[in-house]
Amino acid sequence: MKTLWDMPRGQTAEIAAITQTLPQQIQQRLFEMGFEPGRALTCVQRGPFSGPVVVTVADCVYSLEQAIAREIHIRSS
């Protein structure tokens, strides 16, 4: 399945799932931040030199490093 890390710049997609094996507190935080299945997210920018990816979800812009962006699964909407 594709993840947030694979998204090209400017693309919008729908969140499919968050990896269940992530530590509980991180899952909880992602959920509260708006990373919940069914919601839309947009990749604003790929960080330079495979640095953190920049993404809009809900009303915020977050940057997430690869290790966590790979755990957010998406499907095209």
Partner: protein
């Protein structure tokens, strides 16, 4: 005294509101995680407490942990009269996620709670209006629209604050609104969809700027330019101001000493007061320029972007992108920077960041750098004055500090002694809106930094100057420094500094600078003042040039000051924040030895 506490999402304007209420000047800046400890002030007979920001009651970083722990304590405390939950009106959903969690807690503890809907001015600029009456009804707690920046609605808010704190009318009634925590989240989303402004409107500008600022090529170029400008400007902008201060001090010295006529008093005023204290005051403009530039960066919102850009490279050294902000602010002073490391998500990376922060060249080193650069580096301009050779030398010294910090970080991160058991939290950072500087508080901060610099080191330098002067003036009356009391003491310690190519005068200055690094300049200023009679009081650099200092020895001193941890307050803060005295002492000793070694090697290589 009854208490009003101020909580909310990071970067939502809590501290600016707090400052407006209490008249204090706590640090406000445009990135999440500015406030990392509780701060209190007074408003209308209440104690107001500003909390660190938190995204959720389920915490990830140390600053959030403190906020939530203290919130729980406050809820149990009878003195807590009112909870003010600050919301960012332009980011209603994410503000309400935490807001509704707090509201539920408040209800459970039977505490009054109101919402401050802050940043209403920005909302107005987008032409959006929030119906606070309706929102308040749906939330079951009062909502007040305010702007802590333009002061819109603040007068009404102050009145309401006193009323709601006095009466318990603001106790939320939510039993019939929302059954459980999961529905809080849903409610936050619904309310934001109904009342909030569309994210595409708010984020449009920000994302457009970011597509340039965070682009691989333009973003990297921007980053390097900003950093170069930062360090170069400390030099370029400050030089004319410093020259001005120097001539003023020299002028006052001349007038005053002339009026006094020759004698011991004349010599004392000239050498100890003007030579010692004067050569230190010259650097005040530089500290202020540094504060101004860092402040501009902090207000703009660029720092969060810089942290992002640095994340990958810093990860390689065992650090986080979030280490960037403490590292940068450490160039002003290490102590707040060590505190700021609380926002670093991973405990391991936080510890490494804290231990290496003292290697950043804080403003106390500026006088030492500036003095020795003026001695050795000619004042040559390139590109029509835009770039300056002395400025480049400054840049190189700052860079040395950063490089050393990275190397030590790499070493520490490979060691399994550093928090081996802690789970690593991932790097997640919110990017704030770009904002124009908030000039008034910024300029106040700049002035404050100058004052603080004088108050902190001034008395020490003055005292040291007086003691040095007395010890070096007598018994010979200033004619024979080598045989003064100080000269005799100095010869004892000379062997320590011989490998560095330094005579006892430099040795005394270096040892005394463990009281405060700036003392180096003050002490040398006094010593050269005594031996050079009356010429050139504030022009210490020229005195050193005439006296002759070997290039290798001078560079050695510079490297020594880059690396050595000479600040007692920094050590104390490190101990408190790490809770590991052994480790901290180890680091202090290691930095000291490294500094000495580097200086000795440099002297022996260059001579």
């Amino acid at each position: 005294m009854k208490r009003i506490i101020l909580v909310g999402k990071p970067n939502s304007g809590k501290t600016l509101l707090f400052n407006q209420l209490t008249g204090l000047k706590q640090k406000v800046a445009n990135f999440p995680g500015v406030t990392v400890e509780l701060k209190s002030g007074q408003f209308a007979g209440y104690q107001v407490v500003d909390f660190p920001g938190a995204y959720s009651l389920h915490t990830l970083s140390k600053d959030e942990q403190i906020a939530v722990e203290k919130l729980h304590e406050a809820l149990l405390d009878d003195n807590t009269a009112l909870i003010v939950c600050n919301l960012d009106a332009t980011r209603l959903e994410s503000s309400l996620v935490f807001g509704l969690q707090v509201q539920r807690l408040a209800k459970q503890h039977n505490k009054a709670l109101i919402f401050a809907l802050n940043m209403i001015d920005e909302l107005g600029r987008f032409g959006h209006h929030i119906d606070t009456a309706a929102l308040s009804k749906q939330l079951g707690s009062p909502v007040y629209a305010i702007s802590a920046r333009t002061l819109e609605g603040i007068a009404e808010f102050k009145t309401a604050l006193q009323q709601d704190a006095a009466a318990a009318s603001a106790i939320p009634e939510l039993s019939d609104l929302r059954p459980d925590a999961a529905s809080d989240l849903k409610q936050a989303r619904q309310l934001a969809a109904e009342h909030g402004i569309k994210d595409t409107v708010v984020l449009k500008n920000q994302n457009r700027i970011d597509s340039f600022m965070l682009n691989s090529i333009s973003g990297s170029v921007m980053f390097l330019l900003v950093m170069f400008f930062l360090f170069q400007s400390i030099f370029t902008f400050a030089t004319p101001l410093m020259d001005a201060v120097e001539s003023i001090i020299a002028y006052i010295a001349e007038v005053l000493t002339e009026a006094l006529g020759p004698g011991v008093i004349h010599d004392f005023i000239n050498d100890a007061v003007f030579g010692g204290l004067g050569s230190f005051l010259v650097f005040v403009p530089q500290i202020m320029v540094l504060t101004l530039i860092i402040g501009l960066l902090e207000d703009s919102g660029y720092l969060a972007r810089a942290a992002l850009i640095c994340h990958r490279p810093l990860s390689y050294f065992g650090l986080s992108g979030r280490s960037f902000i403490p590292y940068l602010s450490a160039h002003a002073c290490a102590i707040p920077a060590i505190m700021a490391a609380r926002t670093i998500e991973s405990p391991r990376k936080r510890l490494i960041t804290m231990l290496t922060i003292p290697l950043m060249s804080c403003s106390a080193r500026l006088p030492v750098y500036a003095l020795l650069i003026a001695v050795f580096i000619p004042d040559i301009q390139y590109l029509g004055g835009l770039v300056n050779l002395q400025g480049i030398a400054f840049f190189a010294l700052y860079f040395m500090g950063i490089l050393t910090a990275l190397m030590i970080s790499l070493l520490l991160s490979r060691s399994d002694k550093i928090e081996p058991t802690a789970t690593d939290m991932p790097f997640i950072l919110e990017l704030p809106t770009y904002r124009l500087p908030h000039w008034k508080p910024l300029l106040q901060r700049v002035l404050q930094s100058g004052k603080h610099f004088i108050y902190r080191a001034g008395p020490v330098i003055f005292m040291v100057s007086v003691v040095i002067w007395v010890l070096s003036y007598f018994p010979a009356g200033g004619d024979d420094l080598a045989h003064s009391y100080l000269g005799t003491i100095g010869h004892f310690i000379e062997p320590i500094f011989e490998p560095l190519g330094l005579d006892w005068r430099y040795g005394v200055a270096i040892l005394l600078s463990f009281l405060a690094r700036e003392v180096f300049v003050g002490a040398l200023g006094t010593l050269f003042g005594v031996s050079n009679a009356d010429e050139n009081v504030a022009g210490l650099a020229e005195n050193i040039q005439q006296d002759g200092l070997a290039l290798g020895a001078g560079l050695g001193i510079l490297l020594f000051y880059v690396v050595a941890l000479q600040c007692v307050a920094t050590v104390a803060t490190l101990k408190a924040e790490t809770g590991n005295n052994k480790l901290v002492i180890g680091v202090v000793v290691a930095y000291g030895l490294l500094a000495y070694l580097l200086a000795a090697i440099t002297y022996n290589l260059i001579g």
